[in-house]
């Protein structure tokens, strides 16, 4: 199908709703009610699990076929560097900047 700007606009509006609903309703529901302690204890494990899943998606999953790939060597090496730097420095800026520089340099060497 050939897209025009009106169709792009409707895509954005529909996209807004599918993005907004999962952001809003849990917040609405869980801030208004008395939530059992176990739920909060469970939620504490969400960030670490989600971030790991996102990193795995970035490094080991092909973004189009969703196949497992081990070809992003520069990203893998840079990830190890970022972990060490983050652990040592506890600084977000340094971790991100060192990560970008290392992936840039490594991708020139490893290709």
């Amino acid at each position: 199908m050939n897209w025009n700007s009106t169709q792009h606009f409707w895509l954005i509006i529909l996209g807004f709703f599918v993005a907004f609903i999962p952001r809003f309703f849990p917040l609405m529901l869980f801030t208004k009610r008395q939530i059992p302690e176990w739920f909060n204890e469970w939620m504490k494990f969400i960030p670490v699990s989600l971030f790991t899943a996102l990193v795995v998606k970035d490094i080991f999953i092909d973004s189009e076929s969703y196949q497992f790939i081990i070809s992003k060597y520069s990203e893998m090496l840079a990830a190890v560097i970022v972990i060490v730097v983050a652990y040592r420095t506890r600084s977000m800026v340094i971790s991100v900047v060192v990560g970008l520089i290392s992936v840039f340099l490594l991708s020139m060497v490893i290709a």
Binding site: H8, I12, G15, Y66, Q67, V82, M92, V93, V96
Partner: protein
């Protein structure tokens, strides 16, 4: 203690205005949004989005992953409904983000929650979650300011990217690593004990499996739900039956050399 050099980052100036202290918290994220936003704007331009719509999509959807997905699917001429469906799978994980932030936003008005939800995304969640968990003075107001700073930088970079169009070549693989690095940093900050490392490993392997099986980002949601549930169940069981288990030992923060992360280059 008093031998330590004063670090301006760790001793905040009490007189610093709020807009500046929250901006400082948001700044690393803002800066990594600049190249990624530029790249995203360029891709959307190539996919046929005009500049006005690029600005609109950055404000309303405000998600790097979703916008890259839109650009990719438009270039292969996917039908509207299949793009929206893919977006739905991709954005479903926000239900987990907002659930896990809810303990910190109790008592806020519906209007606040609405505005907060509109500009919530992975990266500003990461920053706000860390601040909520470690800084008692961090409230919804500060968190919302961080969201809005990141939204501003994201939208402006997207619009500029759309305007320069193909005049600028950006290596997406390299630029996107800024976000990977941000998430890696967040993981390191979240590691509290050996159990968390175990859950990390499990989550990583399981996420890869789930994404391969579902062929979509729905796998992200499934694996996150199960990995976090497993972590919770293991921790509860260990605390109840084996409170001295070494899995629950706290890890020393970086200054301390004897740490669980086995790095051989300890000096």
């Amino acid at each position: 203690m008093n031998k330590r050099r004063p670090n301006p980052k760790q001793v905040p100036d009490p007189d610093e205005p709020l807009w500046r202290s929250t901006l400082r918290v948001a700044m690393p994220l803002n800066l990594s949004y600049v190249p990624i936003g530029l790249a995203c704007g360029i891709l959307l331009h190539a996919a046929g989005f005009n500049t006005l719509l690029t600005g609109l999509v950055s404000l309303l959807i405000f998600s790097g992953g979703a916008q890259f997905l839109i650009a990719t699917m438009l270039t292969i001429n996917s039908p509207l409904l299949s793009i929206v469906l893919m977006l739905f799978f991709l954005e479903l994980r926000y239900a987990l983000l907002s659930s896990s932030l809810s303990p910190y936003l109790k008592g806020q008005s519906n209007r606040f929650l609405f505005i907060f939800a509109v500009s919530l995304n992975d990266e500003n969640y990461a920053i706000n979650y860390l601040k909520f968990a470690t800084d008692k003075k961090w409230t919804g107001k500060e968190a919302l300011m961080v969201e809005h700073y990141s939204l501003l930088f994201w939208a402006v970079s997207n619009v500029i990217g759309s305007l320069v169009g193909s005049a600028l070549k950006i290596d997406l693989g390299v630029v996107n690593f800024a976000l990977t690095a941000l998430f890696l940093y967040m993981i390191v900050m979240q590691i509290k004990n050996r159990l968390t490392i175990l859950i990390c490993l499990f989550s990583g392997v399981f996420a890869a499996l789930c994404m391969m099986l579902t062929k979509s980002t729905l796998g992200l949601v499934i694996s996150t739900l199960i990995a976090s549930l497993l972590g919770f169940l293991l921790e509860t069981t260990l605390k109840k039956h084996l409170p001295d288990s070494h899995w629950l030992w706290k890890l020393r923060s970086p200054g301390a050399k004897k740490s669980v992360v086995e790095n051989t280059e300890d000096n």
